[in-house]
Subunit: 272 residues, 2 copies
């Protein structure tokens, strides 16, 4: 039995509508910051963080705690709260901060709700692109407010022109020596694009990518995605789970149109 | 002597302002098409072409012929006109048609004017992103209407975190067997992004990429770019020129912040 069937339908609807409210609020805050300016610094790992990442995560945490005081929260910028709670909200307030800093529009907010490890709600919101992809268990996937469904790729269309979105080679070498996987994917699927995580995940959900690979990222980079893909009729497969000292678990996943996902998963499972 | 000094300053200003008018017109036509819809088909090489590519090129050709009846025109979708004329307008009405078809916002219009082989005016316009990068010889480079200048990258910042935008591996193998160059670049500069040509070129001009590589593309994919980079204080180097049967010449170029461009050019010049 799917454990999510234990959640009452009206609760799922409420979680979903609160999640949409949360990303409407974060979108507004980000838009204000783009006009009024913000502070930028580098984290110890040299990735960027801005005053907006922090402010948006604080804002989302406050909204969630106000509505759901018993739920746990995991986010990129602050320590977890209520890690034992059955319901966990997982967020990346600004994914693609490097692009945000350069004022490229391909950054976004990622927010997911899990119940005992199973995805219930997911939202990826791109404030500048006015693109919000959202889903809830049993309710379907939506691009802005339009219901969307993935159509599987035809076998004949996997001829090298299939659109695969991938992370940079850096993602395959920063926690493990797996550059060979980047090489294998880029050789087998030469029509690839490398955008930011949130944008490639949204593209997989709306079918603008035939499939997306992400790799070497923490849980908040994947938390919104699984439900977006599955409720749209796509396939989501976790191909790696690694423990990284001080950072915690990082994951590798492949998702999108089922036939292509299966083909890509085989690349990851091939012997080194 | 720079041959462009032979052109009268008021002529350069007029060419520049007409080029901006042209891309305002093409932007409006593209925005209308995104609302009203358009036809899509595949070319023999399987790349996409839409009714909008054709309509925008017709529109740009008509505007240029009206203002400058003696000038030549080279475009992606129609045969050249007046190939012997000293002034040549070179255009890609929609670069990134594949993204346009999927309604991703990273496509754009590229328009350049050359005088006896030297770049005089360049415009890259992204209708959905509201991002126009433009330049004219001696007049500087502009992001929308703001003058911009590239600041060179510090040697210490070329530590693997430098932002390099590149084409897909497909570009290195479709006309020649040069996948090793893709491998060399992605190994040496692991923080890479792969967006569409026009967006990566615009990013190099505004400094949102530290440097951009493009490869295996015809002249209309590069025609706007050189003047955008050089007038912003950047460096533009053509690293390859190949004759491809039926297609004509294709090029490989590296451009952006000078120190990083020099480093990347060395990769292309290294023995195979």
């Amino acid at each position: 039995m799917d454990i999510r069937n234990k959640i009452r339908a009206q609760d799922i609807e409420q979680f979903y509508s609160r999640a949409l409210e949360c990303t409407s609020a974060s979108r507004a805050a980000i838009q204000v910051a783009l006009v009024s300016g913000f502070e930028v610094r580098r984290k110890p790992d040299k990735s960027f963080v801005t005053s907006v990442d922090l402010r948006v995560e604080e804002q989302l945490r406050a909204l969630i705690q106000q509505h759901f005081p018993d739920h746990g929260i995991i986010g990129e910028e602050y320590p977890p709260t209520k890690p034992q709670a059955p319901f966990q909200w997982i967020m990346d307030p600004i994914d693609g901060t490097e692009d945000f800093v350069h004022r490229l529009p391909t950054f976004g907010t990622m927010l997911g709700l899990y119940y005992r490890g199973a995805p219930v709600v997911g939202v990826i919101d791109h404030p500048v692109l006015d693109l919000r992809v959202s889903a809830a268990f049993g309710l379907g996937t939506y691009k802005n407010n339009e219901r969307i469904r993935l159509v599987d790729i035809e076998p004949a269309a996997m001829d090298g022109s299939e659109r695969v979105m991938i992370p940079a080679r850096a993602n395959f070498i920063k926690h493990a020596d797996e550059g060979r996987l980047f090489d294998a994917v880029t050789r087998a699927h030469p029509n690839h694009r490398i955008y930011r995580t949130c944008f490639t995940h949204a593209c997989a959900a709306i079918g603008a990518a035939d499939a997306t690979i992400d790799y070497g990222n923490p849980v908040w980079d994947f938390a919104a995605t699984r439900i977006l893909i599955e409720e749209a009729g796509g396939k989501f497969v976790t191909v790696r789970e690694m423990d990284v000292p001080k950072l915690g678990k990082v994951y590798g996943s492949v998702f999108g149109k089922p036939r292509l996902v299966e083909k890509l998963v085989a690349l990851f499972n091939a012997p080194a």
